[in-house]
Subunit: 337 residues, 2 copies
Amino acid sequence: MKFIQFGIGPLGQNLVRRAAQREGLELVGVVDPDPDKFGRPVTDLVPEAQGHTPIVAGLTELGTEHHARVAVISTVSSLERLLPQVQTAAQAGLHIVSTCEELSYPWQTAPDLARLIHEVCTKHEVACVGTGVNPGFLMDYLPAVLSGVCHEVHQVTVERIQDASMRRVPFQQKIGAGLTVDAFEAKRREGRLRHVGLRESVDHLAAALNWGLDEVKETLAPVIAEHVVTSGYTRIEPGMAAGVEQVALGFRENQPVIKLRFRAAVGEAESFDAIQIRGVPDFRSVIPGGINGDIATCAVVLNAMYRIVQAQPGLTTMIDLPAVICNTATTEHVANG
Amino acid sequence: MKFIQFGIGPLGQNLVRRAAQREGLELVGVVDPDPDKFGRPVTDLVPEAQGHTPIVAGLTELGTEHHARVAVISTVSSLERLLPQVQTAAQAGLHIVSTCEELSYPWQTAPDLARLIHEVCTKHEVACVGTGVNPGFLMDYLPAVLSGVCHEVHQVTVERIQDASMRRVPFQQKIGAGLTVDAFEAKRREGRLRHVGLRESVDHLAAALNWGLDEVKETLAPVIAEHVVTSGYTRIEPGMAAGVEQVALGFRENQPVIKLRFRAAVGEAESFDAIQIRGVPDFRSVIPGGINGDIATCAVVLNAMYRIVQAQPGLTTMIDLPAVICNTATTEHVANG
């Protein structure tokens, strides 16, 4: 399966590196408008990449002989900024898998943009999905899948709780670890702390469960260090922010029927991903330690490539695709057992 | 959605009872060849059922005015015995959801029968799936879904461990609880103890992961009571069978890459469903307490009805359907919170 990578920042580089380890995936082009990057071979940034694909500033520079079927777009979180990139890829006849968080389920938050994307993809007979581990899997798709064993679902609570000590420094910075409460608040007001996609996960899950929501409420607050924390990239004094806690609630008839809680902090006691379904039956599913977001987002995107080429044209969602599965061999022989 | 129920034994009765609680599902016929049942209104067996649908011995007796779209078949575990029922339903233009364990993934164990079913369904433009909680969900579909966050999968281990104390008496009898070891062994030799579908789950999961298996090995042994067990329907003395443990292993290059372990015993210390994926990343997902099989099998079947009517004609599998979700309201108003 030949693909073109749009965006060769940290996530794009990871995607290219992981794709190179898989049999059956072939990178045939890299598009990135950053003038520091274009013209260079992709192997400058990702030594493991196959061939010497040069980075180009636009898709047209690749010509038409690349025979790619899929565009992997990991550029922006904003759907509005993504739109022209989707249009370009769709017009070139490429199916699209993107990490754009707002693309995972835009039908409530940006219905006009969603419709534009759906139309351009339908017109050019390509399918498009926004995915990743969160949004796209753990807090929306997986709870919907688990509801399959239920006769009734009354409430779904999803928690993604992470000790960020071992995560990349930019991630620790992004969640505000080591900021004073005032600095955290200032950064929050600028919208630079927010995990993008929580709202989309609420809408995605509600649509899957066929629930019309009356209201969605979101909160975001610092996780305050209670003692000195030294497990992260910087020393955190008591009273400073160690990370962020973000909650989104979806309401029906004044009851919070969907509760999503994302908490990432340096020094957090326990990491886990948990889904609680109140209904018939009533159960909790837990992944102790949680799923590493950097690894899993790449995996979901690469695995989704096999499903997107089979999908109906238009803007689709993880819930309407058949199961996205790790079904490709890696090139290294890995000992089993 | 109008449907016809084939088979009105305990499972069929449960399906009809649960369907009656859902908005949008309407029972329009019941087929069962048992002379003790036919001619009677279904409400004799299931007081909650809608209307006074009579039980008939064959589909032709229902005429053609029923406007059903789906046949729910809960009659037999054997694919060979299921075949004529599938043919009848397909010829009548009904999509099929069946609890027949051997139908969940018959392509390795019974490829000729699978092909016959695929052909008759394709010819009559209906889709057919075999499903339930196990096989169909917990030990095959769900681990495949969870692999979606992985770059590499080296080994999958699924455990379904159940304390059978609270299950129906026929279930406790089926797993051999209270038998002497000799009686257990005699019943095992007759094939009457076996949980049907473990082999199909191995094949289903292997196909999803795109793994060709060299060999599948199955074992079945009694769980021996170590002390007196009084939590079940009968007193179990030390040294007697309290239940059954069944293991199926799928091998590649002499390594057991799929390990499924089903253990159900009266007095079992802890019930749980667990999936362990060895790979990149490496993680374990656990449902403490486990999923109640009686409840969940009905739920999966009813939820699958919404997907089967959208599917491509032919014999399909849970892994090739879009996610089967609990997306119908129940008729009772249920308090949220």
